[in-house]
Symmetry: C2
Subunit: 103 residues, 2 copies
DNA sequence: CAGTATCCACCCTGATACTG
DNA sequence: CAGTATCAGGGTGGATACTG
């Protein structure tokens, strides 16, 4: 036994990637390096602005992504993964393979 | 890039371990092999019967755990992980280590 | 463009009581 | 012991309109 359930609660960091949209967002950022708000809306057409905004804010607070604002008109905002966020790639990949192994 | 976000949606199997209680339940079953309903209630004192029941049912439907009923009086029900469920150990471990690395 | 504000419906969850 | 039934509440998410 590697980890004691007493010391692995959901808030250990797992909830930072919980939810319907966070993993897809992370995957798109892994693929594209940098994306604007509207880019994410295009590839995730079913998410509402509200939810996208909320998820990006939470991911930023959890230091998984970086938000860069260019003070132009119209405004331009770019999102990209932090190193900590990029470290999730192998784990998400394992999770994905695990999911596929069982139908 | 290993996985295409187009092909890694949350319902790929990730939602089978989503939620507040499923990972802790899996971890306890990894540790103890077999547990009764009341055993799980003891180690997870904050979960209600209703939620525990619901989570166990979903985990069973997703083939992560097995439910064994002994037709005795009083009834005895045991839960244990399937092979598919046990395969999650390394992934949860990685996730946990990843979470700990960052504060 | 990149959000926020507002309103509203719904679902998830908790508490309690009940059952086989 | 191992649940289910019922009711109530609070938070979550969607739709739309608005803003800098």
């Amino acid at each position: 036994m590697k980890i004691d359930p007493q010391f692995c609660r959901v808030d250990d960091g797992l909830d930072t990637i919980l939810g319907k949209w966070k993993i897809p967002i992370i995957l798109y950022l892994l693929k594209n390096q940098t994306m604007r708000f509207s880019d994410l809306q295009k590839v995730l057409p079913e998410i509402s602005k509200k939810m996208l905004s909320k998820n990006l804010k939470e991911l930023e607070e959890d230091d998984l992504i970086t938000r860069t604002v260019y003070p132009t008109v119209p405004p331009k905002v770019e999102y990209s993964l932090t190193e900590h966020g990029k470290e999730l790639e192998d784990i998400i990949d394992s999770l994905h393979k695990w999911g596929l192994r069982h139908q």
